[in-house]
């Protein structure tokens, strides 16, 4: 199918975006990499009157390190995320996630800002943002705001972005010497949407886990932080099969898992347990990137 007619604005500055929003309000949609929005337009699941193309705004680009924070501009393409030396060194969780995001041709266009703003529950980067304790920088006519990634995702395709606001960049605390990260995802075919995925981070002291982050995706209407399981594993020394010891906590975390067309909730719960088992072993096994 073809998109319904719309007007196209090629924004050259942030002011161009704000002006378009002020004039057209909710009738305007932002076009970043377009790898989710274009299918929605083609299938007429979205029919905005105005499309604001932000691909030529320099302020939204770039990856930089300042102190212990890595800042990634909203327009950073997935391919760049996977090839950037700064991302590999300071936020390796994101680098690990990139090969799971669709396919090369899509990673050449899709952006981190687009993925986070779109808030697809099956997307990889929202879960990575939460597991990394990232903060999300947004701006609008009223000024700038900073939102913790953990508070940013509100539901299917729903975020804390208010009308007229745009995501500018994401700040990720640089990984510490004793922190380890793991990313894993189960999908039917390479590049397909995840059936269940898990982004994890922990401080590993010998075999002991501290400050663990376990963030599932593709199991609920937004990334699911496994708080009970994280608490149950705090300060515990790893042993093979330890997932059995936290079975009750995991069951509590996963009680509201939502199934989808192809994968029932019960299957997703099973896959989530499989992933926890694998990920804990890998965290302690010393995989740093």
């Amino acid at each position: 199918m073809k998109p319904a007619p719309f007007e196209y604005v090629r924004a050259k500055s942030m002011d161009d975006i704000f002006a378009t929003f002020q004039q057209h309000g909710d009738d305007a949609l932002i076009l970043a990499g377009g790898q989710s929005l274009m299918p929605m337009l083609n299938m007429r699941l979205a029919s905005p009157k105005i499309l604001v193309d932000i691909n030529r705004i320099p302020e939204l680009e770039g990856i930089s390190v300042s102190g212990d924070v890595l800042r990634i501009g909203a327009l950073t393409r997935h391919r760049k995320l996977g090839s950037s030396a700064d991302v590999a060194q300071h936020a390796p969780l994101l680098k690990l996630a990139v090969p799971y995001i669709a396919h090369p041709a899509i990673r050449n266009r899709g952006t981190i800002g687009g993925s986070l703003s779109h808030a697809d529950p099956a997307a990889e980067l929202p879960a990575c943002a939460i597991a990394s304790d990232a903060t999300i920088n947004v701006t609008g006519r009223k000024g700038d705001r900073t939102i913790a990634a953990a508070d940013f995702f509100l539901g299917i395709f729903d975020t804390a972005l208010e009308a007229g606001e745009i995501l500018v960049s994401i700040d990720i605390p640089t990984i510490g010497a004793t922190e380890r990260i793991v990313f894993d995802e189960l999908a039917r075919r390479r590049g397909d949407y995840a059936m269940t995925g898990l982004a994890a981070k922990a401080t590993v002291d010998g075999g002991t886990l501290r400050d663990l982050r376990l963030v599932f995706f593709a199991v609920a209407d937004r990334p699911l932080v496994a708080r009970e399981t994280m608490a149950a594993l705090e300060g515990v020394e790893y042993s093979p099969g330890m997932v059995d010891a936290v079975e009750d906590a995991l069951a509590t975390d996963l009680q509201d898992v939502i199934g989808d067309l192809h994968t029932p909730a019960e299957t997703k719960r099973h896959l989530a347990r499989v992933l926890v088992d694998r990920v804990l072993a890998q965290l302690v096994g010393g995989e740093l990137s």
């Binding site: 073809k2 007619p5 196209y8 377009g34 274009m38 266009r109």
Partner: protein, 158 residues
Amino acid sequence: MSGTQTISLSVNGEDVSRSVDTRRNLLDFLREDLQLTGSHVGCEHGVCGACTIRVNGEIVRGCLMLAVQAEGAAVETIEGVSDSGEIADLQKAFHERNALQCGFCTPGMLLAAAELLKSNPGASRDEIRDFISGNYCRCTGYQSIVDAIEAVGSARLS
């Protein structure tokens, strides 16, 4: 409340300037306005890879980019890379190994293979399968496609 805009871009090395409907995707622009019908329209939502083209040297989904977004860009299609001889070895290997039946996926498959071999000519069969996972072939079962890409990569290395 549609509109048209005039765009100027390079297509297969030639400068082109046209007025386009703002909602027209880049693939339809190439096929309908420039009669470059080598790139194919498949699923129109980014799954099948039949529409794979190059924009500024990288493969993209032609169906997931608007023609107006290509203002100032350098676009290459299967016609361009065929005429230049850049992928002649890949085309020959596909032909020899019967790495196509209906041929619908082939232009996209060749461009994906070309991008992989440019950065990683020694790609393993697993890496080849991973890279072309975004290009669907419903005829061959992929075996002969992987064979062809692997053979060309080896030949380029030696």
